[in-house]
């Protein structure tokens, strides 16, 4: 009985210590400073000589990458993927038409959107907003929701994946059921390598990292 009591006390003490340690780490991380990395910050490290590790300028940046924290993407217009799929019968590559041809899937330009939206749903507020972008000759500042940080040194090419008939949803989740697209799959190296091994694709380092 006494032993068991001691053990629970020790466990509690360990948990408390770990909690304090984790708290301290977080505090230090944010005290040390550094920007929260976004997926589109390339080349983020240009000109800064701050070094925590070769891949991270600050401890905070390293922790943020380790925990996979990304700021919530804020889209200029709440683009409904589901509506376009279910009501307009559009497929992914109808708008992201770079995917089959090259590295970048592409977010279509406002001109491409206006091909349809000159006539369709012109009374809706988001479309009026879109039209105002078009009239000003501006692109809506769409935010990317996927992307590696520059220090990952990943070069990805959509085309060979599309040619191999890898479904878009394998890497992007079922976007057809999303209103605003959100990151649904973690693009970790183990995720990529597992699929490459399954499909007898090369897992040589320089297939992706160069």
């Amino acid at each position: 009985m006494n032993n068991e009591h001691k053990r629970t006390r020790r466990k509690r003490l360990a948990a408390l210590l770990m909690g304090v340690f984790a708290g301290a780490v977080l505090l230090i991380a944010f005290a040390v400073g550094g920007r929260v990395a976004t997926g589109q910050s390339a080349p983020a490290r240009s000109g800064s000589d701050s070094v925590f590790s070769p891949a991270h300028a600050t401890f905070r940046e390293a922790l943020v990458h380790f925990l996979g924290w990304r700021p919530e993407p804020e889209q200029p217009i709440p683009f409904p993927h589901r509506t376009h799929f279910e009501e307009a019968f559009l497929g992914c590559t109808d708008c992201h038409n770079g995917a089959a041809r090259g590295p970048i899937a592409r977010i279509p330009s406002v001109v491409f959107c206006m091909d349809c939206h000159f006539d369709i749903a012109t009374d809706r507020e988001p479309i009026q907003l879109l039209t105002s972008y078009y009239d000003r000759g501006q692109e809506p500042p769409w935010e990317r929701i996927y992307g590696w940080n520059p220090e990952a040194h990943v070069r990805f090419n959509h085309a060979p994946h599309v040619r191999r008939d890898i479904e878009c949803s394998v890497c992007h989740g079922d976007v057809t059921q999303m209103i605003v697209a959100e990151p649904a799959v973690d693009h970790t190296m183990s995720f990529c390598v597992a699929c490459h091994e399954q499909n007898q694709a090369s897992i040589d380092c320089v297939t992706c990292h160069y």
Binding site: S46, D49, V51, P54, A55, P150, A159, V206, Y210
Partner: protein, 236 residues
């Protein structure tokens, strides 16, 4: 699987350094400024060495472009503690930036002095940052970098070749690194050394051919061509 190699015709090279410029532009290689350069930290994946021969007034100027020799028995590879420097199946000495922890052992082991360390984070003043090549990563402080034979072009050509046919091979001449592409004198020829018909392969068998520092046994994939005896004329 091809085995990539290159030939450099020293009798053709005019020393114009178009290859150096092209390489910098293609591979996002930073310039370090005069102070750092004076400390031996200049970064050029390819450099053109200059040699004077003979006595005045009977002198001759010779140029020799030097870049990573992509050795088959590379001294840089076994010394890397993190396997950042390794040999690919197609005969390249690859450098994986993610793995590099900056020990610089590879640069010390390299007999050709063609590996470069990032002592600082690279910087491109506006608007020069807009010319960065998106197909190549920007290396950060603390990692080693070197000539890749334009791996981004090799990968792109491979993907292109396999678009119609899974076994599709890259045609000779369809793929060129930036230096060979920009060489006005056609001194640099890139190709598959395992294909006996490729231009690079035929040139590498030329009696004019020789390797840099061959006696070290690193077995470079780059062959230098020049008339006359190699060692006497300073080729070795």
């Amino acid at each position: 699987m091809p085995r990539w190699g290159m030939t450099v015709d020293l009798d053709r090279c005019t020393g114009c350094e178009a290859c150096v410029t092209a390489c910098h532009a293609e591979n996002n290689i930073p310039t370090v400024g005069p102070e750092e350069a004076a400390r031996g930290r200049a970064m050029h994946w390819i450099r053109v060495e200059r040699y004077w021969e003979g006595e005045f007034p009977d002198v001759r100027l010779k140029f020799r472009p030097v870049f990573c020799q992509q050795c088959d028995n590379a001294p840089c590879e076994p010394v890397c503690p993190t396997y950042a420097s390794y040999h690919t199946d197609d005969g390249l000495n690859a450098q994986v930036y993610n793995r590099c922890i900056g020990t610089r052992y590879c640069a010390n082991a390299c007999s050709y002095n063609v590996r470069f360390f990032n002592f600082h984070n690279p910087e491109w003043d506006r608007p020069l940052d807009l010319q960065l090549n998106p197909d190549v990563s920007v290396r950060e402080v603390g990692v080693m970098e070197k000539c890749t034979f334009c791996i981004q072009r090799i990968q792109a050509a491979r993907i292109e070749a396999r678009a119609d046919d899974e076994e599709g091979a890259i045609e000779d001449g369809a793929l060129q690194p930036a230096c060979a592409q920009s060489c006005t004198a056609n001194a640099l020829v890139f190709g598959d050394l395992d294909d006996p018909e490729s231009r690079a392969s035929r040139l590498s068998r030329s009696p004019r051919g020789g390797k840099l520092l061959e006696e070290l046994g690193a077995e470079p994939s780059v062959t230098y061509l020049q008339k006359g005896d190699w060692y006497e004329s300073g080729g070795g």
